[in-house]
Symmetry: C2
Subunit: 297 residues, 2 copies
């Protein structure tokens, strides 16, 4: 469950007007390389049917997609040379403003649920519509940490995992040390925290363990938009395909998420995710292994 959008993005390497974006889009396409995906989102009447057809071809079930009269959510942003922070220039919520996610009956037995960044009250409403999932993970952002903290903390009490940016971990916990901050968030409810660190990779933190996944240094990064949702899609998609939540599977899932995100940033919109092969995905996983390997003592 998340957003579908038109993004107008400017980076030091080019710009793109009204490209297809949105958290649900990036997540679904990424996860579709591993498993069947069920999407809950809303689009306006201006959303191109061709893009929806593409999702359907990739086995994304669109029966939870609401098509409203009006315009699709639009976001306009810009990145500086460090590519780490997006500067929002304009946001038009449009049909997203009144979005009240409805989980179709056929989706209510879903075992893996991802709540992309949206009003935490709506995230709660989605959790309540799913019967007995094996894993519920959520994203959020500083906007909700600052504006709806109580609702956010309540939502965190209902999920198994949070997948959030390092800066948001620090802000939510009010603590600069990342390990101490993470422990505070685990006390709010989630058993697992997946900390996104941009080009520095990710940390998977549980009560008694920490896994550090590297970021793959890339020579050509064009557009980081959607990297976090693409990462979450690869992560959840891999777990769902295996039905295995062991420590080893979680670590492999973080690497598959990183693999998918590393492809995504190589192009604008989700162009690079449109026609990946299993061979390319596996070759890049091996690149991560080569990147991070060192001998045990």
């Amino acid at each position: 469950m998340g957003s579908m959008a038109f993004d107008s993005v400017k980076t030091p390497f080019g710009e793109r007007e009204d490209a297809i974006g949105g958290s649900a889009t990036y997540f679904s396409v990424s996860a579709s390389y591993f498993t069947d995906v069920r999407l809950v989102a809303v689009v306006g009447s201006d959303f191109p049917q061709g893009e929806l057809d593409f999702l359907a071809e990739r086995s994304v079930d669109l029966s939870g997609l609401e098509r409203s009269e009006g315009k699709t959510f639009r976001w306009k942003g810009e990145y500086g040379f460090d590519l780490n922070t997006a500067h929002t220039l304009d946001t038009q919520l449009n049909v997203f403003q009144d979005f009240r996610p409805q989980v179709p009956a056929a989706f209510s037995e879903s075992e893996f649920v991802f709540l992309a960044n949206i009003d935490p009250e709506l995230q709660v409403s989605v959790v309540e519509q799913v019967k007995s999932p094996q894993l519920v993970a959520c994203d959020t952002m500083n906007f909700w940490i600052e504006g709806k903290r109580d609702e956010l903390v309540r939502m965190f009490g209902m999920v198994d995992m949070a997948v959030i940016n390092e800066g948001e971990v620090r802000e939510l916990a009010g603590e600069s040390n990342i390990l101490k901050a993470s422990r505070k968030i685990l006390e709010m409810g989630p058993q697992t925290l997946l900390v996104k660190r941009g080009e520095y990779g990710a940390l998977l933190i549980q009560k008694d363990s920490v896994f550090s996944a590297p970021g793959l240094p890339l020579e050509d990064i064009y557009d980081p938009t959607g990297a976090g949702d693409t990462f979450a899609g690869g992560f959840m998609g891999y777990l769902s395909s295996k039905g295995d939540l062991s420590p080893g599977a979680l670590r492999r899932a973080v690497i598959f998420g990183s693999v998918m995100a590393s492809f995504n940033v190589e192009s604008f919109s989700y162009d690079r995710l449109k026609n990946l092969t299993q061979g390319e995905i596996e070759a890049r996983y091996r690149q991560f292994s080569e990147l991070a390997h060192f001998d045990r003592l």
Copy 2:
């Protein structure tokens, strides 16, 4: 070869006046856990004999230590909550001002040479005093990148490896992408670049390979002063003890360097490095293995 100093340091977790510091001090103590060390540095008449005795006990050969009339180099700095950047409040070069490093004849056959951060012309003079080393590595800082760029580039042409901070890599190369920036620096001469990324670990970059070493998330970081030199000391000390420059040995050396740095930041000055055991060092290496491990495909 490097500095010995009195550091006055303030961090969010406390402060210490006139603690023993300096790049040569941190490097030597760290490397001494792996190999015999030969130190080239200068101290004033105010430097405590007890600290020199401690170094000698740890098999640090002090015959290259110059004892000058006058006061030892003094640095005063402060760290904010992120602990990543030191804000220099005061620098008194004192006897370091006129330091012209003299490599004793008995040191001239040294096979592993580390040139800590100092005027690049003096780094060159040290390289010229060593006969046929197996590995020469250097550090530097933004001050020389901005003020003595030509001399620095000449020095880089004479070393095998540079061990520098990520921000310095970008500044020296004039390129924000870390991989492209690193390749530009490799073109200046070094075959290997070791990029220090603070809490995010390190990258070991050669023409055709990249190794990403994780940073160990620590709950208690008191003082990052000297972390980079401690890292370099563990790295060079391990390599020197093995006499092996294979890719696998370089990677293990990066982890041993990271292990030593992770201890160092747990206390002010080099207190934590004073009485480590081999068992503690190995246990922490295993912690790094556990932190970074994921299954191959």
